[in-house]
Amino acid sequence: MGDINDFKKDMDKLLKAFKNKALMDKIGKFTVDLIRKRTLLGYGVADQGGKKEKLKALSAGYKKWRKKNPPPGPSSPAKSNLTYTGDMLRAIDYNVKSDSLTIGIFDENEAEKAFYNMLMDREFLNLSGAEIQQVRDYIQKILDDEIDKL
């Protein structure tokens, strides 16, 4: 490596070129996958940056109903993972606008279901502290591969 000031300039140049739609798309997709996977595993996150917690158990009556009408989606009659058909979790998406990234459910019907779940104390769209760290690690890995080339 050469002069430290040259390295700083190279870093600035690299990072400026890096903050583009392609990177934001990758981060968006990665983050959506994280939330979907964690919810399918049966965990929610009440506050952004907080700890994940097991989703509230299903009521006895609903479990009984699901036993008679098994979920067609990736769940089981007793599993609390906000999944019956799986449509709501599949509707989690992202939106990139200039340099901001929004993760959410943009389909009105599925958003209504998500909102109902939130009212029932089953919040799942937030990112836990560990998930934010996973997003950091993901971006860091992409950057490290580029920095190694400097």
Partner: protein
């Protein structure tokens, strides 16, 4: 709850390392451990034992989209929570605290207990640690490249923070 064991690992480093050098070394150690887990390698070398057929057939395994590759990532949170616990002259401690959400899983993997009272070395997947040769290479990197590593870390941290600051979640249009 059983007393958690083996959720931290002590790495020795040169006694003349400054706190900045130790923090940078810790950063590199954590990255290397995660990288080795992705490759299915134990802390001291050799591959992790395969997943059991029961685990592979479970709903969680499928819902996490896992393949047969053993990389200690179901949700990914366990490795994400690994951090520098403390450091002092000649010593760096990497791992977890007892109260961490993933601490039980860490112990399960480290000693092969997986929720049982006694561990089984044949089922264990110890990941906290590095072969000495790799640790030596990281120490030498910190000795030679601390200014560049610090610049890269500061700049990438602020880059990532700026992205996370502008990331939000919402319902509806």
């Amino acid at each position: 709850m059983a007393k958690l064991v083996n959720i931290q690992h002590i790495f020795e480093c040169p006694t003349d390392f400054t706190p900045d050098q130790r923090v940078m070394l810790a950063d590199l150690i954590i990255k290397k451990i995660k990288e080795r887990c992705s490759d299915g390698l134990k802390a001291t070398g050799g591959s992790f034992p395969h997943y059991s057929p029961e685990y592979k057939a479970s709903l969680d395994f499928k819902n996490a989209g896992k393949s047969g590759d053993v990389n200690l990532r179901l949700s990914g949170d366990m490795l994400a929570e690994m951090r520098l616990v403390r450091h002092s002259v000649g010593k760096i401690v990497i791992g977890y605290d007892k109260g961490d959400v993933e601490a039980d899983k860490v112990e399960g993997n480290q000693i092969g207990s997986y929720g049982k009272p006694i561990g089984d070395p044949n089922k264990a997947r110890p990941f906290l640690g590095l072969p000495q040769g790799i640790l030596d290479a990281l120490i030498s990197k910190v000795k030679k490249e601390l200014p560049e590593l610090s610049v890269a870390k500061d700049k990438t941290d602020s880059f990532i923070n700026s992205i996370l600051k502008n990331t939000s979640t919402k319902f509806g249009k």
